[in-house]
């Protein structure tokens, strides 16, 4: 092979960026002693904030999956007038600043808002309540699920669905037995991105639902009140929770792939 400078130069450039991203995280985590983390975990405030973050993100992801997967399928399979407008709407949350999203949501979801007031009548409160946390997270992380589902379904040949139909499966059965399983890999990775994005949501959450505090809100509050040393243990705990989640998912994915890989070698 001909030697060129391209590979070393590109590698060096990329390494700078990777170091820039990883060094701060590693240094922050290693500065924290296990004892200080343990102490932080003893605080009810910290435990509750971590729980609200994790469970709120999970709820937002579940809703995004339930409503976003069908939308992703339609976008992958059907042509209709205004499709590019719909795709634009799907991507909009990515470009809207998060505090702006919070203000917009507050306008609609406040007890006087067009959605907030009927919801209030039904006994659901968004402002400074868990549903508000979930709503803020959902608004900003749903695109990950919709777009992942769309590209997942696009990768499934419509002819496979046709064959399924000719084998006697109806449209719904074909979706459940063929399209969804084949797109599930893409959808799961979209869901992971969605969850991670939701856990890190801050700007929209503090506008709509300062309470119950999510981890990010608590970290910010500790930082403004107690400075770096006060906020860092909570920050490290949040990072560790996220890492744990990713490791578990990776293991789950490997377990899922494992038996099939073995089967192909049989």
């Amino acid at each position: 092979m001909r030697r060129t400078l391209l590979t070393p130069v590109f590698t060096a450039f990329g390494a700078v960026l990777l170091l820039f991203v990883s060094v701060p995280i590693v240094v922050m985590v290693t500065r924290q002693t296990p004892a200080s983390l343990w102490r932080a975990l003893q605080e009810a405030d910290v435990r509750s904030a971590l729980w609200v973050s994790v469970s709120g993100a999970a709820a937002a992801t579940a809703i995004a999956l339930a409503l976003g997967v069908p939308l992703g399928y339609i976008l992958a399979r059907r042509e209709f007038p205004g499709k590019s407008v719909v795709q634009g709407l799907v991507d909009m949350p990515v470009v809207v600043p998060h505090t702006v999203a919070g203000i917009a949501l507050l306008t609609v979801l406040s007890p006087a808002g067009i959605v907030g007031s009927p919801a209030q009548a039904a006994g659901i409160r968004f402002v400074d309540a868990f549903p508000g946390t979930v709503a803020a997270m959902l608004f900003l992380s749903a695109p990950f699920v919709i777009n992942a589902a769309r590209s997942g379904f696009e990768a499934v040949s419509p002819r496979l669905e046709n064959v399924s139909r000719s084998l006697g499966a109806g449209a719904w059965q074909t979706f459940l037995l063929v399209s969804l399983p084949l797109a599930s890999g893409a959808i799961v990775s979209g869901a992971v991105m969605c969850w991670a994005r939701a856990v890190s949501e801050f700007g929209a959450v503090i506008v709509l639902a300062y309470y119950p505090r999510v981890a990010c809100t608590l970290i910010y509050e500790r930082y403004t009140g107690q400075g770096l040393s006060g906020s860092r243990p909570v920050a490290v705990l949040l990072v560790l929770v996220c890492l744990l989640f990713f490791v578990l998912l990776r293991l789950a994915a490997r377990w899922r792939v494992g038996p099939t890989g073995a089967a192909t070698n049989a």
Binding site: S164, R165, S166, G168, A169, L182, T260, A263
Partner: protein
Amino acid sequence: MLELRDVSKQWQGFSLSRIALHVADGEFFVLLGPSGAGKSLLLELIAGFHKPDSGEILIRGRAVSHLPPERRQVGLVCQDSMLFPHRTAFENIAFSLRLRGQKGGVLREGVARLAGMLRIEHVLGRRPDALSGGEKQRVAIARALAVEPQLLLMDEPFGALDPVTQRSLRAELKRLHQETGLTVLHVTHDQAEARELGSRIGIMQHGRLAQVGEAAEVFERPRDAFVAEFTDCRNIYSGTAERDGDVTVFRSGALTLYSTAQVSGPARAAVRPENIIISAEPVKTSARNQFAGRVTGVERQGSVYAVRALFGGREMTSLVTAHSVQELGIRPGALVYFSFKANSLHLMSAEGMAGSPADAGGGRGAVLGDEEAGRD
């Protein structure tokens, strides 16, 4: 069994216009045509993936155009097998059986029976990506048969396979058809495959059926130059036919041919290369057509040789074995005799063709016309 009544459809640049076809119960019908002729689109209409723009499709006398694919009981096998990649061969075959509520021993028995018919018992545990091309098609056929189809649609099922696998699968399919008495509609662009499998053949061109008939009829009596050419009849000439008693004399430039066909006026003549006998000496024969000429080319084509020679300014091709090439000392420049019977020369009236819708293929390069005679 299957009846198409003036079915028309425009779809993504493909079009079918007024296709009328009748496939009898238990028949093996082959649709033969070049890529883009609309063969696959026609199968997809019958399977129910599209609705015809006009016309009606009937299966066992029942109009099905409004029925979704899952209610047509039509089996489909595609060129790229389209097996479900996330399921084993067993589960692919079991797909429709499970939908019909079979499970446990009944299901295993059903799959085993189909796997036995297609001789794929040993691959049932594998996923499609661990199957060879031939195995994939066998699984796909077994899966299609599992729906107990009224009609089996085959869309170039052997097109992506190597010649050896193709040959064994064709034989297998023929056996399967004889054993089950299934009605098959088989699409291909391979004339050899069509001839081997089809009891009747339909030639498709530009979204129309150019000719439908018994295999022998389509191959020996093509209706026009396109059909003749597409069925690999390489000797097609333009000229004039004149009746003379019980024979017809056909003249194209300096070439004079005799035919038993009864045509007069401007016509095209076609003789299949495999119907021409080559000899090194003039032979005493009942064949009315015999002429001497010089060999212009010898080409190996698979297991046979195509020998081209010039007679009366017209080139003619015959197919012979390697043995004959050696025996007769056939090489460019050698003197040879071509002979064929008068009933091997098929005549197509040029007037009739001009009026026929399938004439778009007329006047093609392969047809040597009078206009070219002057240059010879």
